[in-house]
Amino acid sequence: MGPTTVLDEKAIDRTITRISHEILEKNGGSKNLSLIGIRTRGIYLAKRIQEKINTIEKRELPVGVLDITMYRDDIFKLKTPEIKKTEIPFDVNNITVILVDDVMHTGRTTRAAIDAIMDLGRPRKIQLAVLVDRGMRELPIHPDYAGIFHPATSDEEIFVKLREVDGQDEVILAKPQ
């Protein structure tokens, strides 16, 4: 069986719209909110949420970029660890940080991201928004906003494609051959 589409372009857009509304609802508006996208695709999702919230609330939230490589727990097991820049052009102290990632799986990336943000200051809150929650958690971490919950087994792969990097918007599930 070949790969199946989990979300198409329209569904991704609707999902991001819903997540944006949920973020505003849960935080009672957009005051003191900042978005931090986890490299690579989390950045573009964060920027899309920023655009949606700007349309709804007429406020442009700051967006930061986080590379979690320095905080990974498997850094010595990777064949080619590649470190890219972290660029967070705002003070994280006393604000609510919305951490944005494409796929939530084991929770290890989120753990690394939380540690990385804590090293930059003391946010009032950190919340997590993901496009796809594929289950199979290895740490007690859960998203505050999940676009879709789509359980996948360990030999299946979820691929999030975004037009900014992949030329098209699609979430696909690839099963083993």
């Binding site: 320095m70 905080y71 010595f76 990777l78 064949k79 080619t80 660890p81 972290t86 090293d119 930059l120």
Partner: protein, 309 residues
């Protein structure tokens, strides 16, 4: 790309791509030193020994801060506090250090090739922190990082290196590294301080300072290596200063956005005037700041990942 080396012994054996990987990785580490909390957990549990058998301020502190900011543990030994004074050979010292399971040994030694001896004898990663008049790769890499930071690209630049070229490991490592790029390198100094093989490396030689600095993007100054007999090659330091001390008047001949570099320690009034050292074209302290990020990158690339060692 993959980092393929166990050790960092010189810039001579690095490719252009490997140099760029180090510089790009260093870009990512630079912001850590500007944070309130200057520490990331990347190299937690790794041990780094700095063994400096020659005096050092910058390089040793830079390596130790780089290691500590990556959460590695550091131990340092120096000539006066080591058993070398009791007659132990370098290889034996190395084997004994290795028995305590360090992950990296940074060595500075007056004998060229010392790091290479350790690299062969030990399983730990060896970094050359300067071996005699041979190589000082981390200095050249931080110099290239600083040049790229100020000039945005390395290819097409014109660089003058002025001073005691014959005894300078900084000059040699820089020449090896710069020739991996399309950089035009001119060395300048008294004829006795210019070694004969330089033309083979594709380097121009100029004996007059005003000619050497003409139209240059970068002027790098070097001190006279007294500990390697440098003063024996010139009639007097006063005459040297007269002919080779970079003063403001020379800068008019260089490019209008020229940068002035010096690996330190500076001998003010000999190879560089106060006005130039403290002037607007000087990037000498940027070099020192960038050194920490570049050394973090090198430690990370040597230790991070399984690679193909």
């Amino acid at each position: 790309m993959n980092w393929p080396h166990k050790d960092l012994l010189g810039t001579r054996e690095l490719t252009r791509e490997e140099i760029l990987l180090i510089l790009d990785t260093a870009e990512s580490f630079k912001e850590i030193s500007r944070r309130d909390i200057k520490k990331v957990p990347t190299l937690r549990g790794k041990t780094i020994i700095t063994a400096f058998y020659e005096p050092s301020t910058r390089t040793r502190v830079s390596f130790e801060l780089a290691a500590k900011r990556l959460s590695a543990d550091t131990v340092s030994i120096s000539q006066s506090t080591s058993s070398a004074t009791k007659g132990e050979t370098l290889r034996d010292t190395g084997k004994n250090l290795e028995a305590m399971q360090p992950d990296v040994v940074v060595i500075r030694h007056s004998m060229p090739g010392s790091p290479h001896i350790l690299a062969k004898a030990l399983a730990s990663c060896i970094i050359n922190g300067g071996d005699g008049a041979h190589e000082h790769p981390t200095q050249a890499l931080l110099d290239l990082f600083t040049i790229r930071q100020k000039k945005e690209a390395l290819d097409g630049l014109k660089v003058a290196i002025v001073g005691d070229i014959a005894h300078s490991r900084v000059a040699r490592s820089n020449i090896f590294a710069m020739k991996k790029f399309d950089i035009d390198v001119t060395v300048c100094g008294p004829p006795t301080m210019i070694p004969p093989y330089l033309e083979d490396l594709g380097v121009n030689v100029e004996y007059r300072l005003d000619k050497a600095v003409a139209d240059k993007d970068v002027i790098m100054l070097l001190r006279i290596q007294k500990e390697r007999g440098g003063v024996m090659y010139i009639p007097s330091t006063k005459e040297y200063a007269l002919l080779y001390s970079l003063r403001e008047e020379h800068l008019q001949k260089a490019k209008p956005d020229v940068i002035i570099m010096h690996p330190g320690p500076m001998n003010r009034g000999i190879e560089i005037s106060d006005a130039v050292a403290d002037g607007p074209y000087s990037v000498i302290l940027d070099q020192v700041e960038n050194g920490v990020a570049v050394r973090m990158a090198i430690l990370f690339l040597l230790l991070g990942g399984e690679g193909e060692k």
